[in-house]
Amino acid sequence: MREWAGGSRTWPIDILTNMAPSTKKNPIDLLFAVLTAVSSFSIILLIAGILIVLVFESSLAIHKFGVFNFIFTIDWDPVRKIFGAASALYGTMVTTVLSMLMAIPVAVGIAVFITEIAPSFLKGPIGVTIELLAAIPSIIYGMWGLFTLAPIMSNTIEPALQATLGKLPVFSILFKGTPMGIDLLTASVILSIMIVPFTASISRDAFNLTPEVVKESAYALGATKWEVVKNVVIPYSKLGVFGGVVLSMGRAIGETMAVAFVLGNNHQILSSLLNAAATITVSLANEFTEADSDIYLSSLFYLALVLFVLSFITLFIAKLFLIRAERKYSR
């Protein structure tokens, strides 16, 4: 990644200086360079192609609803052909933020345990388990959410939350209504389980970037494990951890099947977390196959375009932080 980052800043010069001498030496080298370059540029072409198709397919909806109007319209009414992204955007943001709130502490805890606290014979098994969690297909999370988690949420957890937090003045708004298990909260819990592995493994790698010498000096000064983690490891790697957090955020924004079953796909904006809602991806998964009018289909493509831009911005921010972190600390 560092090579890539470095290369991207000065790539025309890099390619000229690196490629020019080698081409003279060996035709195989030239072929190799061309093949790798073609592979890389094909990705850029692919992304550009996807963007062009999304814009082209959604042009009807862009023309009819405009950008600002589309993003701030709550209504999503296929019968009257009025479409707005606000409710889906709201659902996407609420589930993403909530799941991050639940996942980050756990993930950072896991990373601290693996890098600093666990005896070495435990590091391997825990690391592998976390990676296995990331390998479970999201549809399995979805089915598990529908048949197992949703009943637990509606029968136990959500009534308990209503009886405790729901009694407090501000929180009561968040926990109003009949707990059904098909709501923003359940979806966020599933999402948080899905993104823990990403945040945990990137945080672990970031923590590992902390130079041993610095840590050892802190221990030599009499610092406890907690103080070393708090004052040395986390400050050293906070940008890397942040990058990992934003990367998992990208994952949470784009996750589809895990939440498609437990969110209800209701295009509404209500304050309670115990209400059904819709996210962009859930709307796409639920409605794409049966979208019967041109403007309906075009609006779904428009939603996808909004998601594309949103994910792009998120990942761009993440990359920025990761590059800065590595430049700052890995020397």
Partner: protein, 336 residues
């Protein structure tokens, strides 16, 4: 040299096989609702004639788009397309098989076939105007049942589907308030309720929440023994959803070849007709006569030999009179 020859021979056979298969395959795509019966028919048709039917259940919307773009030989849609749409895209349309939608409830002590409802009550429940099960209107239709003073949990589909299209068309026709406020389509803006994905999603939430009502395909309710309700039909009788009441609906439905069989089979006039039924349709490209003839041959075969299989899978075969109307329609367009 010998191995090269062998490889060449194998390749030649494979290619020959592929091209032979290509000539004997019918490609179709569309509605997911009739997928089980189409593939069962296709299996038997292949055994009987050696011709393969490759049907991809990508959803009605996709089926309509694919046949409009002429990428498949036939498209399938749960919703009938209007004659104007068909004319604009140079398409033909005919019904292939029927299904229906039933309402299921989960109330303690209420068994399948005990709850009586009429269109107005269903409409008011789904509009949120009737909110308790012991509402006077429901009580008056169910004097024998003891209904709890509990909020009604309304369940609907979260995904776009032909089932929703049929159900909302039924409500729109039977109840003007619904037509004004919500309308009909594969997905609509529900005034209230929770959304389940697919029949299994709706059934799951109805089963779990209690004091709930939802709508599912007839086949799904029957196979899973859900507590269906009786409905009052336009003839004024309370009917149960079964093959007889569906066949009665089909027999009294006005499928007109002149209108390309465009018909929502809801609120049918028959004495014993179940009010929420619907046919699923096949779309053909008008100008591709040769491909159409292959498709038509398949459905003609299915009309002759497929009724038993359809019933096994809980679909309602078309009545004989309608099949003959369809054959005449094919003949009129020179594809039979």
């Amino acid at each position: 040299m010998k191995t090269v020859f062998k490889i060449g021979l194998v390749l030649a056979f494979v290619l020959a096989g592929v091209s032979a298969q290509a000539a004997e395959t019918i490609n179709g795509a569309g509605a997911s609702f009739p997928y089980p019966v189409y593939s069962a028919w296709a299996y038997n048709y292949h055994k009987a004639t050696g011709i393969q039917l490759n049907y991809q259940s990508i959803g009605s919307g996709g089926g309509i788009r694919q046949i409009t773009n002429r990428t498949v030989e036939f498209g399938a849609s749960d919703a009938p397309q209007t004659p104007e749409f068909l004319k604009k895209n140079n398409l033909l349309q005919f019904p292939a098989v029927m299904g229906g939608v039933v309402l299921v409830v989960n109330i303690k002590g209420v068994k399948a076939g005990q709850m009586h409802l009429d269109a107005d009550a269903v409409c008011k429940i789904y509009l949120g105007e009737i909110t308790y099960w012991d509402d006077a209107k429901i009580k008056s239709m169910n004097p024998k049942l003891t209904l709890p003073h509990k909020m009604i949990t309304v369940v609907h589909r979260s995904d776009g589907s032909g089932t929703t299209a049929i159900f909302t068309t039924y409500l729109s026709q039977a109840c003007s308030a619904w037509n004004d406020k919500v309308g009909h389509g594969t997905s609509v803006k529900w005034p209230l309720g929770i959304g389940g994905k697919g029949n299994e999603g709706v059934a799951n939430y109805v089963r779990r929440s209690g004091n709930s009502i939802g709508y599912v395909e007839f086949a799904y309710a029957k196979q899973n023994k859900l507590a269906y309700t009786l409905l009052k039909n336009p003839a004024g009788r309370f009917v149960a959803p079964n093959f007889k009441t569906f066949e009665d609906a089909a027999a009294t439905g006005d499928f007109e070849p002149g209108k390309d069989f465009y018909l929502w089979l809801v609120n049918a006039k028959g004495e014993n007709a179940w009010p929420i039924a619907g046919a699923t349709f096949i779309l053909l490209a008008k100008e591709k006569k040769e491909a159409d003839m292959k498709t038509v041959k398949f459905y003609d075969w299915a009309f002759k030999h497929g009724d038993k299989k359809a019933k096994e899978l809980v679909y309602i075969p078309l009545p004989e009179s309608l099949k003959n109307k369809i054959r005449a329609y094919w003949k009129a367009h020179g594809i039979y």
